[in-house]
Amino acid sequence: MTQTLTNAKIIDPENDRVFSGGIVIEDGLIAEIFEGSRDGTDLNGIYLAPGIVDIGVKVGEPGERHKESFKSASSAALAGGVTTMIIRSDTNPAIDTPETLAFVQTRARENSKVHTHVTSTITLERKGEEMAEIGFMRDGGAIAFSDGDAVIIDSKTAIRAYSYIAMMGGVLIGHIQEPHLSKGAVATSGAFATKLGLAAVSPLAEKIGLQREMALVEMTGVRYHVDQITTSAALPVLERAKASGLDVSAATSIHHLTLNEFDIDNFRTFFKLKPPLRSENDRQAIIAALKSGLIDSISSMHTPQDEESKRLPFDDAAAGAVAVELLLSAALRLFHSGEFTLPELFRALALNPAKRMGLPTGRMEVGAPADLVAFDAETPWVVDREKLHSKAKNTPFDGAKMQGQVRATWIAGEKQYEI
């Protein structure tokens, strides 16, 4: 089956260009990319870009389906232009055996409307003690290995596990944190956290965490992806690691790119994230590092939490925010501020994460899967969390003004979402 999308502004992240034209889709793949206008579905001049690849989406299956199911998460993803979700292993129980992996893959296959790849754990129950069956899970199709936000504290255990993943040819998604420093912290240390009286963690905890992880990468040779880097202090460590040739990539979260610590004023628990929101200086440094390519990609770090777990004193409230649906709209703030071009944004949202995960998607090129998002960058709107497709509604962007919205999403050439 052939279809033509025409009269769009095509975003090609790889070749860093935006042009008026269209594409021909055949058998779910991009068969042709053309400039100018042809007969076909008229996109009326809105943007057409490769669909977003989001590394680190938490779906509540198994264990917390009341917070998010594959059905609700993928509906949110479609509405956000996310065509591939790399889901996290920190479920309950964790995805730490080939049997659980197979179960989750089946649930995803039957219920998810977007491409869904599953991460499995490094250690059993993410406890950092006994290695999980990494070989079996690799063979079972786990796309990466991660203990989520649990750091493997015992360096000997970490070395053996990282070496084993390296031998199996897997990618490790790591969380950079010195867990003793960050224990109990709910904010970033500084004048603002002091004023609120919140238990705070120094940005140094992220730097020490990254230094330690890079030493382990150097020793074991494992391919390493940082789930989110959020502080200016850690950036030189990442820079040195990359310069020395380590196979390392890093993401940052959409929240740390667009919000800062002042947003938690009045103890608003929807702004409680892990790691906590940082200073404005940190945010600016992260934007610059993303722009320069030191940071490779943007993740939503989508973390659904129910009302009960957020309607608590700040110290006790659960951390995390849903974001897969708002990822693109929030990222467009960086476009409107003039800090990023659209091809630059889609390198970070689609091309780089796809490449890192070894997926053929995320690019505007002939032969690539026709996983696409059409959006306009202009329409102003206000976020109403009750209208989100996610079951959980915990977004810090509730009531926020956005400019630009997803209009349609295609998965392998099939239009799955349209407004």
Binding site: E129, E130, A132, I134, G135, F136, R160, S163, Y164
Partner: protein, 305 residues
């Protein structure tokens, strides 16, 4: 000409001629020839096993007896060491009893040579830590020689827990000295990278590691090392590194399968392969053990006449 062998502490310091000489002597005993017991009567062999052992200790005991020696086993587990005596003091005490040959196993690498420095008699290393187990390598060599007709020019894959294995180290030294191609096969956590510097090929995949091998030597993997520490689980270990028909098919059709014992069936080796006498040499290795140990003890005692 080098001085005759005073002790057998390891394979690393042996010359190929010395290995050949021991193997030739052992081959005679292996063929069923009885030893001339007269020269050794009234000599004393003391077995000091600081680590528990059944098969090696019995094998040395039997070897000594067949040579006509008086054999004394000292149960080190209940000895003065437990009362706080140092290894050297124990050695000096024993030395005062004037044994002729001392067979020592110890959990510490280098402990046997430390002891050898302090006594007047010949010392045989029956295994020191993860360092060496020379008589095991010699008995493996004798087994290979009898099955393959030679102990050079072969491709030999040593598989499994190399990191913790003294058997592996002694075998690597011996097989390389004799001109064989040695491959080490196992998960990277159990195959130290440094061994590549000894001239071994390192493989993490059994299929490439076993390809066209003449000899497949399996090593035992202790259970506690499998439960998530070095490898995730027994079943994952067996799947990737356990020797089964499918993996063995990559070796030469006439490849032999060796194991120093005791083996974990279904972990590092499929029981059916271990029991296939046309391929498995596991029982023969035990038999060769006595012959080799007779040859070693005889060589050391003759050198001291």
């Amino acid at each position: 000409m080098r001085a005759p062998l005073r002790h057998l502490l390891g394979i690393e310091t042996l010359r190929p001629e010395e290995i050949d000489a021991i193997l030739s002597k052992a081959a005679i005993y292996a063929d069923g020839h009885k030893a001339d017991r007269k020269p050794f009567s009234e000599l004393t062999q003391v077995n000091m096993f600081f680590e528990n052992s059944t098969r090696t200790q019995s094998s040395f005991e039997l070897a000594g007896m067949r040579l006509g020696l008086d054999v004394l086993n000292i149960a080190m587990a209940t000895s003065s060491i437990k009362k706080g005596e140092t290894l050297i003091d124990t050695a000096l005490t024993l030395n005062a009893m004037k044994p002729d040959v001392l067979i020592v196993r110890h959990s510490g690498g280098g402990a046997v040579s430390l002891l050898a420095d302090k006594v007047d008699c010949a010392v045989v290393n029956a295994g020191d830590g993860r360092h060496e187990h020379p008589t095991q390598a010699l008995l493996d060599a004798l087994t290979i020689q009898r099955r393959k007709g030679r102990i050079s020019g072969l491709t030999i894959a040593i598989c499994g827990d190399i990191a913790h294995s003294r058997v592996a180290r002694s075998n690597i030294f011996l097989l390389q000295k004799m001109g064989n191609r040695v491959r080490l096969v196992g998960p990277n956590n159990l195959v130290p990278k440094g061994l590549a510097e000894l001239g071994c090929e390192i493989h993490t995949d059994m299929r490439t590691g076993l390809e066209d091998a003449d000899v497949v030597m399996m090593l035992r993997l202790q259970k506690e090392r499998m439960q998530g520490a070095f490898v995730p689980s027994e079943r994952e270990y067996f799947h990737y590194w356990g020797l089964d028909e499918e993996k063995l098919a990559f070796a030469k059709p006439d490849a032999i399968v060796m194991h120093p014992g005791p083996m974990n069936r279904g972990v590092e080796i499929d029981g059916a392969i271990a029991d296939d006498l046309s391929r498995s040499t596991i029982q023969e290795q035990v038999e060769m053990g006595v012959a080799v140990r007779m040859a070693v003890i005889e060589t050391l005692l003759e050198a001291r006449r």
